[in-house]
């Protein structure tokens, strides 16, 4: 009896220590990674976690349940001596632990399914045996941690097993300290810097002005020490949860990329000495496969930022001249013609001929600069989007002007491909033009242009109020400036393909739906929509080159669209339009593919 009591006291003490160790290590390592532990930050993190778990995202449900489960079980252990006396607290803990246990059960099931799929992904990627066993081990630990936490929550209600409970808690807490503190720190450090932020490796104006010597500039990562501490923390934080892999369009298309495998390869290889640098374990097509859709970054529960790493490795490939004809050709076109096609800039405003659209230099007092973008300027199909948008703005009495041949590519294709210098050169050129015209508001029909102008241009001196065309249209409809007569509302079912760069990157969800709703009778949702949308396959500069794949990303998406039973797909991005129209033809879905602006313009008299 005495022995038992002594054992209990020791176990209890160790378990308290192990719980304390979790908090201590998180605290210390956060300080070291200068990932401020401010209350505001933690609150924002908690709010975001709660929002996404409530939305029923299994990853976040799992994540929240684990956090909650660990929290409750620690509380139970800590409070064990006094708990029997405090009835209300017991009830409270019970109330929390029941959903947490349920959540853990769901998480466990999801996890097992991910495990099976991860092995099949590894087979198709031909990963090494050593990698696969390391991955199995890591995933095993995760499943054990989930199982331990769940069983602990259950056992806690059987007073007879208090010793067991405390022991389980020690094991679980040790696992947490050993494996999950880094990821937690990473998560905290990433608050507010996930999508859409992109690391800026150098600033061109500093080099131009001589503040920085060009010969010292390194863009890209060719060896492990070149990774920033944040980037290393990022890939080292991957605990194989597999949410990224589950949402990655490249993996789904059978391309040679899984964001999980990529992160883990870097982590394991660098831990083992990293001989030969990252490219000893990462393939070129692996990196080119990424569409920068951001699904991985957005879905990772521990805040891994895959995209920074993809961009940095791509930059190294570009610097080493590892580009095929398509990629090099596109960059050369940008350098020579300021558009990725290589067409004459003087033809840039041809789409507007006969429409009476003014250029900004002719009418400097227009309220909006309409930023057309390269695709809608040159692609004959997408030009219809530009013409539709012009019609809408005219009909609503919005004063606007275009830049015509003074509009250069926004730079996005160069930046995503890894040619940061060319990107910034285009940015400075555009900023100079926009600023010289005194532009205040910019509207654009391209989410990639939107994202760059809104989130990236300020860093280079270009601050404007930027709106996506679906935002402007819904605004015009709401305010009554744009009138769709009821008899012109089309009786048709339409499903909206959320563009990654509008929805996931920039939280534009409701406006395109409102805009559509003004002009068609039936708007349907695909299974994956909003921030969980599935890429069309064009992002990350992928529009401009080919990557080996087993099926097309756009084909997968076209099928999803067809499954809604809708007659048409609405897009809000000229790249998406081109990709989905092409794949609707190839897949024979028979669906019409049109931009939101085209659909609304049709309904406007």
């Amino acid at each position: 009896m005495v022995l038992l009591a002594a054992a209990y006291i020791v176990t209890y003490a160790v378990s308290l220590l192990s719980a304390a160790a979790i908090f201590a290590t998180v605290f210390v390592r956060s300080r070291r990674a200068s990932a401020g532990l401010g209350a505001g930050r933690l609150l924002e993190l908690t709010r975001e976690e709660a929002r996404r778990s409530i939305s029923g995202d299994p990853v976040f449900l799992m994540h929240a349940s684990i956090a909650l489960g660990v929290g409750v079980s620690i509380a139970e252990v800590v409070l064990a001596p006094v708990l029997p006396a405090l009835f209300a607290l017991r009830i409270l803990l019970l109330a929390v632990s029941v959903p947490a246990t349920a959540g853990l059960a769901v998480a466990f099931a999801w996890r097992v399914q991910r495990f099976v799929q991860s092995k099949s992904v590894e087979r198709s990627l031909h990963t090494t045996g050593a990698f696969s066993s390391a991955s199995t081990r890591m995933q095993g630990i995760l499943m054990v941690a989930i199982a331990l936490t769940a069983s602990e929550l259950v056992v806690a209600w059987l007073p007879a097993f208090a010793l067991v409970d405390a022991a389980v808690s020690i094991v679980r807490n040790s696992l947490v300290v050993a494996y999950y503190v880094g990821p937690t720190v990473n998560l905290i450090s990433r608050v507010g810097t996930r999508l859409p932020s992109v690391e800026t490796p150098f600033v061109l104006s500093d080099i131009m002005s001589g503040k920085v010597d060009a010969s010292t500039v390194r863009s890209g990562v060719g060896d492990y020490p070149d990774f920033s501490p944040k980037e290393s923390l990022s890939f080292d934080s991957c605990v194989e949860i597999g949410a990224c892999e589950a949402s990655c369009p490249a993996t789904a298309a059978g391309r040679p990329l899984s964001p999980r495998v990529l992160m883990r390869k870097l982590s394991l290889h660098s831990d083992a000495g990293g001989e030969g640098g990252p490219f000893a374990v990462v393939g070129e097509d692996e990196l080119w496969s990424c569409t920068s859709c951001g699904a991985c970054v957005s879905s990772c529960p521990v805040g891994v930022k895959h995209l920074d790493i993809v961009y940095d490795l791509r930059r190294d490939l570009v610097a080493r001249g590892k580009l095929d004809k398509e990629k090099a050709g596109m960059l050369e076109n940008l350098a020579r013609s300021q558009n990725p096609y290589g067409f004459k800039q003087s033809d840039r405003a041809k789409w507007a001929e006969g429409l009476g659209v003014q250029t900004a230099s002719e009418s400097s007092r227009a309220e909006y600069v309409y930023w057309v973008g390269c695709v809608a300027s040159f692609d004959q199909r997408a030009q219809r989007v530009a013409r539709s948008m012009a019609k809408i703005m005219k009909s609503a009495g919005v004063s606007f002007a275009i830049l015509g041949q003074d509009e250069a590519c926004v730079g996005d294709p160069a930046r995503r491909l890894g040619e940061e210098g060319r990107y910034q050169e285009l940015v400075y050129q555009n900023v100079e033009k926009l600023n010289s015209l005194g532009a205040k508001k910019v509207v654009t029909t391209c989410p990639h242009c939107f994202n760059s102008l809104k989130n990236e241009y300020p860093r280079f001196g270009g601050e404007y109020e930027v709106v996506h065309h679906t935002q402007l249209i819904s605004d015009l409809v709401r305010s009554g400036r744009l009138k769709v007569p009821p008899d012109r509302v089309r009786e048709v079912s339409v499903t909206l393909h959320d563009a990654c760069y509008a929805s996931r990157y920039n939280n534009i969800f409701d406006e395109p739906r409102e805009a559509l709703g003004s002009s068609v009778s039936d708007v349907r949702e695909m299974k994956r929509n909003g921030e969980k949308t599935f890429c069309c396959g064009a992002g990350g500069s992928n529009y401009w080159f080919k990557v080996p794949e087993q099926r097309t990303i756009s084909g997968i998406r076209a099928k999803e669209a067809a499954e809604t039973g809708a007659k048409a797909v609405a897009t809000e991005c000229p790249f998406c339009l081109s990709m989905l129209e092409d794949s609707s033809k190839v897949m024979g879905t028979g669906m019409e593919v049109r931009d939101v602006a085209e659909i609304v313009a049709d309904a406007v008299p």
Partner: protein
């Protein structure tokens, strides 16, 4: 290994403007590095990374020709030599003798690389003439080059055959575009290239033989290139016959 590579600062045909009388405006026309020359530069860089040594890029032209040298330097060449003088337009012999004089002035080279032809005139004569002027061996239209023991083993790509030949070094080799994929220099690399040394040699210093009879350009006229957009009417047979007539006039049928 010392490798020389010749790059031409050629008129960019895509930017060519038409002046009065249908003549092309050559004065101040936009120029760029002749596209196939990048394959030669790329091959030089690959040789350097396999064998070590130095890559020197040569060009002839005005100050503007520095741009093309800079492109070679941005790709990775170590230094450049600019022969300051007029492009000898269509007098290939004179061009070859000028480059030869500049190359000789820079000392002995193991390999001199050129491309199969320039993007503006595509005569394909400067490389063999250069070898003649330098008194070295020459191999044209290489799609693969192996350097070994003072010899160059080269696979030549001809119209309907492939030849493997061996030439002693020093050697002038012209490469076809199939030989490699030239690298794209990043903007940062281009900026870094401005720091690399470029030596200027006035053409007058080279005392180039003008030749017995120079090649003169008497006139140039721009072919109207915008599409005609003629729709040929009629049934299949009629339309086909009319089409053939038109194509015959265009001179594009064999």
């Amino acid at each position: 290994m010392r490798i020389a590579v010749c790059v031409k600062h050629a008129i960019d045909e895509t930017e060519l403007k038409t002046g009065p009388g249908g003549r092309p405006v050559l004065e101040g026309a936009a120029c760029k590095v002749s596209v196939f020359d990048k394959n030669a530069v790329e091959e030089a860089l690959r040789m350097r990374s396999a064998q070590g040594g130095e890559v020197v890029a040569f060009t002839i032209g005005s100050e503007d020709a520095r741009k093309s040298l800079k492109e070679a330097l941005a790709m990775g060449a170590d230094r450049g030599v600019l022969v300051v003088g007029a492009q000898a337009s269509l007098d290939t012999g004179r061009t070859a003798r000028t480059i030869a004089a500049a190359v000789k002035k820079e000392g002995a080279f193991d390999v001199v690389l050129c491309s199969e032809g320039s993007s503006d005139t595509y005569s394909g004569q400067v490389p063999p003439m250069l070898a003649e002027a330098l008194g070295t061996a020459y191999v044209g239209y290489a799609r693969k080059i192996q350097l070994e023991g003072g010899k160059a083993k080269v696979e030549r790509l001809l119209e309907d055959s492939v030849e493997e030949v061996e030439a002693p070094m020093p050697v002038v080799v012209s490469v076809v575009s199939e030989i490699n994929e030239p690298r794209y220099p990043t903007l940062i690399q281009i900026m870094q290239a401005s720091k690399k040394p470029v030596q200027e040699i006035p053409e007058s210093q080279l005392a180039v033989d003008p030749g017995s009879s120079p090649v003169a350009v008497l006139g140039m006229s721009v072919q109207t290139s915008s599409r005609k957009r003629v729709i040929i009417e009629g049934g299949p047979e009629d339309a086909a016959a009319k089409l053939i007539q038109e194509l015959e006039k265009e001179g594009v049928l064999r």
